[in-house]
């Protein structure tokens, strides 16, 4: 026993269940340790401090290996999917080239394939959804975080909104068909009659169309946008709020001039994720958008999106059409990729500009 060890420490260690084999000897594992203890003489004060055991070192390495393999699986999987899709799309890419992207006709019998209407429909419906869902999502986030209602009520509200995300998209589709479209019809008719000269209302809503699809899409991305925006606004330190009110701002001035700019990078992330979700959404759109191969500004015309084209045409597609569909899938992938890169770029820019981060 070390002579400098305080006499009282032994009974206390035993009482705490620490007076076991390992603690009785200063460094019981120093023999089998992978890393030798570089301070074998530093035991004078008490035997409590010591190097991690071999087991602890091993579990450290095992954990690192698990984390690394989990990360690589994702990368490998993504690369594999890309490779497969690209491989299947190759014949179509060779056959149709860039004309595929500018073409407006999809006719299996004639063998002409073009996805411009679908690209238009995808972007148009997603932008409309982003506009609606983004405005409402951020408004909800402001409402829930800026002391409009008490904290418990806000938590309940937030849970309700997140439950929207749990509704299967086919249910949204059915709701759109049986509730939303009949509900929109009278209003759409009136708008078309009175303001038909505005391109947005240039046609009548005869059933499925852009408006119901975009509305449902907006509701579907709302939970994503709201939840991430709430987190972004909650992350603002209290001292920023104090600074704003300390300058003599009213509540709206504080929110518009200080809180929103401060949270801007997080809010942008919310919008980009929401937009990404809207681009890829398939089932509800396939049910609601009308699957019509046309480009129209009108909110009430049927249209089509890339994802819903894939979903509706795959089941009965022959060899040639499958290749074309795979090409369309590549186009969709490229669009989502571009949107994400663009979003990330804007986010980096705001981080640099507003928060001075390099």
């Amino acid at each position: 026993m070390n002579p400098r060890q305080p006499p009282g420490i032994r009974p206390r260690l035993v009482a705490a269940g620490l007076g076991t084999e390992r603690h009785r000897q200063p460094f019981p594992h120093s023999q089998e340790n992978a890393m030798a203890n570089p301070f074998p003489h530093a035991q004078s004060a008490s035997p409590i401090s010591g190097p991690p055991s071999a087991l602890e070192y091993a579990s450290d390495r095992i954990f690192r290996a698990i984390a690394l393999s989990a990360a690589s699986v994702i990368i490998i999987l993504t690369a594999y999917i890309l490779w497969e899709v690209a491989g299947k799309a190759m014949p179509a890419i060779g056959d149709y080239g860039l004309g595929f992207i500018t073409g407006t006709e999809w006719d299996v019998n004639k063998g002409t394939f073009g996805v411009l209407p679908e690209i238009w429909g995808t972007l148009y419906s997603s932008l409309l959804a982003l506009l609606l869902g983004g405005v409402f999502g951020i408004a909800i986030a402001i409402f829930l975080t800026q002391d409009f209602i008490n904290h418990r009520l806000a938590t309940i509200f937030r849970t309700l909104i997140e439950m929207l995300a749990a509704i299967p998209s086919v249910v949204f589709g059915l709701w759109g068909i049986y509730v939303l479209i009949p509900l929109l019809k009278p209003g759409a008719e009136w708008l078309h009659d009175e303001f038909g000269w505005i391109p947005l209302f240039g046609s009548d809503l005869s059933g499925p169309g852009m408006a119901p699809a975009a509305l449902v899409l907006a509701i579907m991305i709302l939970p994503t946008v709201a939840a991430i925006s709430v987190d972004a606004l909650r992350r603002i330190p209290y001292k920023v709020k104090e600074a704003a009110y300390g300058m003599g701002t009213t509540r709206w001035e504080a929110i518009l001039k200080v809180m929103l700019p401060t949270a801007s990078s997080g809010l942008l992330a919310a919008l980009v994720l929401g937009f990404g979700r809207a681009l890829g959404e398939t089932m509800a759109l396939a049910m609601l958008i009308g699957n019509a191969n046309q480009i129209s500004l009108s909110l009430f015309s049927p249209a089509n999106t890339l994802a819903s084209l894939l979903a509706s045409n795959f089941p009965e597609a022959g060899q040639v059409e499958v290749h074309a569909l795979m090409y369309a899938a590549m186009v969709l992938l490229a669009i989502t990729f571009l949107v994400n890169v663009l979003g990330l770029g804007i986010q980096q820019y705001t981080l640099r500009k507003f928060e001075g981060k390099k």
Binding site: D147, K239, V240, A243, M247, G248, T262, F354, G356
Partner: protein, 274 residues
């Protein structure tokens, strides 16, 4: 009732020699059911620096923040008493706290610039008040007054958050004085700063008192002796079961530190308790 009233210590009111800008009479300040501060009369004199000192939890920050209704941000906060500012009680029903804060500015313990450019930070209050004149000139003036101009004049477009801690605090002071408020409250403005930045802020305060009235909370007694003209010493009373802060003594700084009337003040000044 009378027995407790007699038992409670109440400081003698400080007779200010000059003009009093804010005459603060606290009866009771509550956070919910918790009595945070009681019976403190703190007049803030014009063109002087009033320092608030005292141990942790003595309510000095609470009293300071009551002077521009910053505590109203806390929902359970309740103020009993009155704070007379130019003949008007700022806690009167018809007074909007937003207006109070436009005349009585504040600098906080932690530097808290907005996440926008240095220029926009300083111009914030000017734009808020729909200032019609030359914003650029005012921004420069405020930054010069805050002794920051030379360091930032070439990077006004950079984010305020890219500055060092001491620079950020001086930026916050520039932001507060850009609109030339009547009174500037400072809640431990140097506690997050290193000695060099602290010294710069202190020198700045001495210059600012030519044009402004200042009140400052500090944990650092040397700082109080260096900058404060008048010092208010608060202590915390645990005899009533809670932890209630109250004013022990207020007077010219020299008198408080060299010849305190109260035994409690003497003990605190000499470091016998904190």
């Amino acid at each position: 009732m009378n027995a407790t009233a007699e038992a409670l210590f109440v400081a003698e009111p400080f007779q200010a020699s000059g003009d009093v800008v804010i005459d603060c009479k606290v009866d009771k300040i509550f956070y919910g059911d918790f009595l945070a501060v009681r019976d403190s009369i703190v007049p803030i004199e014009k063109h002087k620096i009033t320092g608030f000192i005292g141990p942790s939890g003595c309510g000095k920050s609470t009293v300071l923040r009551s002077l521009n209704r910053m505590n109203d941000l806390i929902q359970v906060f309740r103020f009993e008493g009155n704070v007379m500012y130019h003949g008007q009680d700022i806690y009167a029903k018809k007074v909007d706290p937003v207006v109070v804060r436009r005349y009585i500015g504040m600098v906080f313990q932690q530097p808290n610039p907005f996440s926008m450019s240095i220029y926009d930070n300083v111009a914030f209050g000017l734009r808020l008040n729909r200032f019609k004149g030359d914003v650029e000139e005012r921004v420069e003036k405020a930054l010069r007054s805050a002794a920051l101009w030379n360091e930032v004049k070439d990077k006004l477009k950079n984010s305020g958050l890219s500055l060092s801690g001491g620079q950020q605090q001086r930026l916050c002071i520039a932001r507060a004085i850009a609109t030339e408020p009547d009174v500037l409250l400072m809640d431990e403005p140097c506690s997050a700063l290193d000695p060099i930045a602290t010294r710069q802020v202190e020198e700045l305060m001495l210059e600012l008192k030519e044009h402004y009235t200042l009140a400052m909370v500090t944990h650092n007694m040397q700082q109080a002796t260096r900058v404060a003209d008048t010092t208010a010493f608060f202590s915390v009373d645990i005899s009533q079961g809670g932890r209630t802060g109250y004013l022990v003594e207020m007077g010219p700084t020299r008198q408080i530190f060299e010849d305190p009337r109260e035994q409690l003040t003497k003990e605190y000044i000499s470091g016998e308790f904190s």
